[in-house]
């Protein structure tokens, strides 16, 4: 032992050192290593974020310069704090705090002292800045929303959070990222690729020269501008129609699947979500629990579709051959759909409806009946309802549809599994689910799904996945938006339904949607709805729904209008859809009286009702 001690110590420590080196230099090397190196300074060059235009090249979103006041603590000198606080509009305590924070960050490296100063404030600051050594200005760019509309649709950008920095090697803290809406889904196109230059620095943070002779440097890649399918005139017109109403209007060009407008009400100014007061404004919007402006009713709102869904059931019944267009079903203010259960209808006693008449009169009896027949065509209700479900889903119901916007809801199309859960012992049959026949009951759809349904009918059986972006400069949109998707219903059956829809406007439930010179086909809907307040189920005034397209031949626009608690479909939704169609197709509204009536219409009292803590009447 005595003789071997020194050699053992030598070999042992050499091995420990080599292992330690191996750990430090080979194993422990991760990708963030590069950023940890304080000797390399990376200077990024950012391309200007891409512009967003509407379908007619009207600018919707551009960029605006703003300024960051930077501080380098080392160069600070005695300053007149009173004046300085005045021009920056901050308190003295805030000033001291911020200087402390900057010092903690670094004495030599500039850090942001005040961010996103507007041009106006900048002018004042710039004039006085020479007095304050240690402060400097850097210019940055932020979004500028040219129009006060489509806020949820466009989304907004904000600084990346820590999670994103960790998760994504592209972003570094302080950079901007598309946070919501199309800014998010088209982030990669709109941001371009930043360029980077590497510099070798010394310990005093001075740049010595370029790193590895600039071989690792890269030049930025220009961002791409995008054109939306949105027609901004139609969009803002929709906004004006929706004043003092909650709901959504979605219009689609049936032949292309391009979304012409997505109006949500209540709305807010997209410019609220940029600049220094973003988080304050965001909280305000978030806390509006009645209007829920951040809730995209068009994409996220899941409502019972009401009578508009009768069209789908009609098409399925035709396809399943349980009826043809001549089939007559009589209605006596409703009918008994099972031994003791009666479903009411507004048809007079003794009314005999064929398909056409059933559509334009929106006969509950007819559609409940054919729905039941569709299910009962099969020996087992399970098979029947799943077959029905398969047809319904081929219209895009019960799915997220696959459009190019990050938010959405699938709605609900119940199948046998769903009812098995509610009736575990199997006690359900077609009659149990009868409400599905008239678009009530368990079915939930989103307005965009209804707009898509309208486009399918307008196209006589197919649709292209609805999408917001029409084209991208020097690039193409996702090819899935060009694919025709066919429903499981044969094309010939659609004409029969369309005839009924045309008569809805001509002589049926929605005659106020008629437009001179334009053949409109449509369908009203009235959806019963309930909410839970304090665990009490309350019924609210029905939702007013209308779907329609025009012209009847070679349709240019398919539209779905959804007015929360607007009562029956004809009352609000149908005229709004009709005005939208007129605006889009003839650019000019001739029915000024109708327009004024809608614009001045106010449903705010209706929305406050459930929160008044008193009993209230519905459907007034």
């Amino acid at each position: 032992m005595k003789d071997k001690l020194l050699p053992i110590l030598i070999i042992f420590s050499a091995l420990i050192f080599i292992f330690r080196l191996f750990w430090l230099q080979v194993i422990n090397v991760d990708e963030t290593q590069f950023s940890k190196k304080n000797s390399i300074e990376r200077v990024y060059q950012y391309p200007e974020r891409g512009y967003i235009f509407d379908r007619n090249n009207n600018l919707l979103v551009g960029n605006e310069s703003f300024y960051d006041l930077m501080i380098t603590p080392k160069y600070l000198k005695q300053i007149d704090t009173v004046e300085f606080c005045n021009i920056l509009k901050i308190k003295k305590s805030e000033l001291i705090d911020k200087i402390k924070k900057a010092k903690k960050f670094s004495q030599l490296k500039p850090s942001v002292f005040l961010s996103q100063i507007s041009k106006k404030d900048f002018a004042v600051i710039q004039e006085k800045l020479w007095k304050y050594s240690g402060f400097s200005i850097t210019r940055k760019s932020n979004r500028k929303y040219v129009i006060n509309s489509a806020s949820n649709l466009l989304g907004y950008i904000s600084e990346v959070n820590d999670y994103e920095v960790k998760d994504n090697s592209y972003y570094e803290s302080g950079e901007l990222i598309g946070r919501q809406g199309l800014e998010k889904s088209y982030e990669n196109k709109l941001r371009g690729l930043k360029g980077v230059k590497y510099y070798q620095k010394d310990k005093f943070n001075r740049v010595i020269d370029s790193y590895k002779n600039g071989t690792l440097d890269s030049i930025y890649v220009q961002a791409k501008d995008i054109n939306l399918g949105i027609d901004i005139n139609l969009q803002t017109y929709g906004d004006s129609l929706m004043i003092n109403k909650f709901g959504s209007i979605i219009a689609i060009e049936p032949s292309s699947g391009e979304i012409l407008s997505l109006v949500n009400a209540p709305s807010f100014d997209p410019n609220l979500l940029i600049g220094r007061s973003r988080s304050k404004n965001y909280l305000k919007l978030k806390n509006d629990s009645i209007g829920k402006p951040l809730f995209d009713r068009g994409l996220q709102g899941q409502y019972p579709p009401g009578s508009t869904f009768k069209l789908v059931n009609g098409l399925i019944a035709l396809q399943e051959k349980v009826i043809n267009e001549k089939t007559i079903i009589s209605c006596n203010e409703g009918h008994f759909y099972s031994r003791k259960r009666f479903m009411r209808c507004h048809c007079e006693i003794g009314t005999k409806n064929n398909l056409n008449k059933a559509v334009y009169n929106s006969c509950n009896t007819y559609f409940a009946n054919i729905y039941k027949q569709t299910i009962e065509k099969y020996p087992d209700s399970k098979i029947g309802i799943n077959n029905w479900k398969k047809h319904v889903e081929s219209f895009g119901f019960g799915t997220y549809l696959g459009y190019d916007h990050p938010i959405g809801q699938p709605g609900l199309i119940p199948g046998s599994n769903y009812y098995d859960q509610w009736y575990p012992n199997g006690g359900w049959k077609a009659a149990t689910t009868i409400s599905n026949g008239i678009g009530q009951g368990e079915i939930l759809t989103t307005p965009i799904q209804l707009a898509n349904l309208t486009a399918i009918i307008a196209n006589r059986g197919w649709y292209k996945t609805p999408h917001f972006v029409k084209n991208i400069s020097n690039d193409s949109i996702d090819s899935k938006f060009n694919e025709k998707k066919y429903t499981s219903i044969d094309s010939i059956h659609f004409e029969k339904i369309i005839k009924g829809m045309f008569d809805v406007v001509e002589k049926g439930t929605a005659q106020n949607a008629k437009i001179k010179g334009i053949q409109v086909a449509g369908k009203t809907g009235t959806a019963e709805n309930f909410i839970k307040i304090n665990n009490k189920r309350l019924q609210l005034t029905d939702h007013s729904i209308f779907i329609g397209f025009a012209p009847k031949e070679n349709p240019k626009i398919a539209i779905a209008v959804f007015i929360e608690n607007g009562y029956w479909g004809t009352r609000w939704a149908a005229p709004i859809a009709s005005l939208m169609i007129e605006k889009y197709l003839s650019k000019e509204i001739k029915r000024k009286y109708l327009e004024n009536y809608i614009i001045n219409g106010n449903l705010m009292e209706e929305y406050k009702k459930p929160y008044l803590n008193t009993n209230f009447k519905i459907n007034e």
Binding site: F17, L21, L24, Q25, V29, S39
Partner: protein, 417 residues
């Protein structure tokens, strides 16, 4: 008899040292070239100065080889006295650099007598212990041997230069080697381990642990009464030591000493303050990777991020510019050198030469261990140069003197006397 026998000369050691000095020059050049506008061979430039020191070292080497074999033994005592006087003289004529009065200023060159005190103390010890009357097992010899190393320790600790002090403590390895009873070594090692463990955990739990271990061992050795007595003594001494470590650490150490320990032990992290050097050094190693960034291309080295990089932290430049492979090569080179010297020491029949050679290996090893351990963040920050590598005239000349004498003594190895 006094002729240098070229066939017997330890050529691999010479080549190893030359290679290390050459690598040292390269890396010193690398660490200073970026921020020195002065020409590399100018005396204003540390690199230029080091070249001069290397030239002096070469002359010194040949001078030593030309001296008679008996010279070293004969002059060991007087050299020791002169060396100790030179340490003492620092308190009158010395210059304070970086908080330690360790330097004489002569003709613009700083001279650090403690660097020469290392080989000279080795000579003095070799002479004293090779005396026929000396026996390290006796208390008397132990006393004088300890005195020989404690005089420079005392003088150096007063400068204060705690790093060099540790080097002198490493002579205990030499004592142990030539027969110092192992009880000293056991206490020595036990103290080191307990020192760190006590800092990490509470003293009560450690004492409890020591007592449990002792109890179990006593139980195991029940028949052997001698061992029981030994074990009781050990555990008693260790318990007292644990208390004193706690006391020393918290009451005698100053905050920056505590911080250095705490950082290495992972109790505390502070990459901007006291841990800055170690952290920068680690970043340099990480930046080097497997193959290194290449000569003169190390970003951390070029940016001068590692403090004292041309002196104590020179190994981080190797790590960054030559990578894992280069750094491993240097470690292997040192290991080879030390193993070779200790093996040749083993084969020495001349006790004086044997003890001196063994001291040579031990001194190099203690520098190697502390310096590289510190640079790699394994040992608390202690300012000790890396032999042959670090910039600095005194330490280079000190080490060349050490190795030259070893070579001279070793070349006479197998000859009878």
């Amino acid at each position: 008899m006094n002729e240098i026998n070229l066939k017997k000369i330890d050529l691999p050691t010479i080549l190893g040292v030359v290679f290390l000095i050459f690598l040292g020059l390269l890396n010193i050049y690398s660490t200073v070239h970026a921020d020195n506008l002065v020409a590399p061979f100018s005396l204003e430039n540390p690199f230029g100065k080091q070249i001069i020191f290397v030239l002096i070292s070469v002359l010194l080497f040949f001078f030593i080889q030309s001296l008679p074999f008996k010279f070293f033994e004969r002059f060991a005592s007087i050299a020791y006295v002169i060396s100790m006087l030179s340490l003492l003289g620092l308190f009158i004529f010395g210059k304070n650099i970086n908080g330690a009065t360790a330097w004489y200023q002569i003709f613009g060159f700083g001279f650090q007598p403690s660097e020469l005190a290392k080989p000279i103390t080795a000579l003095a010890l070799a002479k004293f212990l090779s005396d026929l009357n000396a026996n390290i097992r006796t208390v008397e010899t132990q006393f004088y041997s300890f005195l020989i190393i404690f005089i420079p320790i005392l003088l150096i600790i007063l400068q204060p230069d705690p790093g060099s002090t540790l080097i002198f403590l490493s002579f205990f390895l030499v004592f142990y080697k030539i027969g110092l009873p192992s009880i000293y070594m056991n206490f020595f090692i036990g103290f080191i381990i307990l020192f760190f463990v006590t800092i990490l955990f509470s003293k009560e739990s450690i004492i409890l642990f020591v007592l449990i271990i002792s109890f179990l061992t006593v139980f195991y050795f029940l028949k052997n009464k001698k061992s029981i007595k030994k074990i009781i003594i050990y555990s008693f001494v260790f318990s007292i030591f644990i208390f004193s470590v706690d006391f020393i650490f918290n009451n005698i150490f100053e905050q920056h000493h505590r911080d250095r320990f705490n950082i290495v032990m992972g109790i505390q992290q502070d990459n901007r303050g006291i841990g800055y050097n170690t952290n920068q050094s680690k970043i340099a190693f990480e930046s080097g990777g497997l193959f290194g960034e290449g000569f003169l291309n190390g970003t951390q080295t070029r940016g001068n991020f590692v403090p004292f990089q041309h002196t104590d932290y020179i190994f981080s430049a190797v790590g960054e510019e030559w990578g894992f492979l280069g750094a491993t090569l240097v470690i292997c080179l040192f290991a080879f050198l030390m193993l070779r010297i200790s093996k040749r020491a083993e084969m020495q029949r001349n006790l004086f030469s044997k003890i001196f050679s063994y001291s040579t290996a031990t001194i190099i090893f203690s520098h190697f261990f502390i310096n590289i351990g510190m640079v790699l963040g394994l040992v608390p920050t202690i300012g000790i140069p890396l032999p042959f590598f670090s910039y600095g005239g005194s330490n280079l000349i000190g080490f060349v003197l050490l190795v030259s004498i070893y070579i001279r003594l070793d070349s006479q190895r197998t000859s009878k006397w």
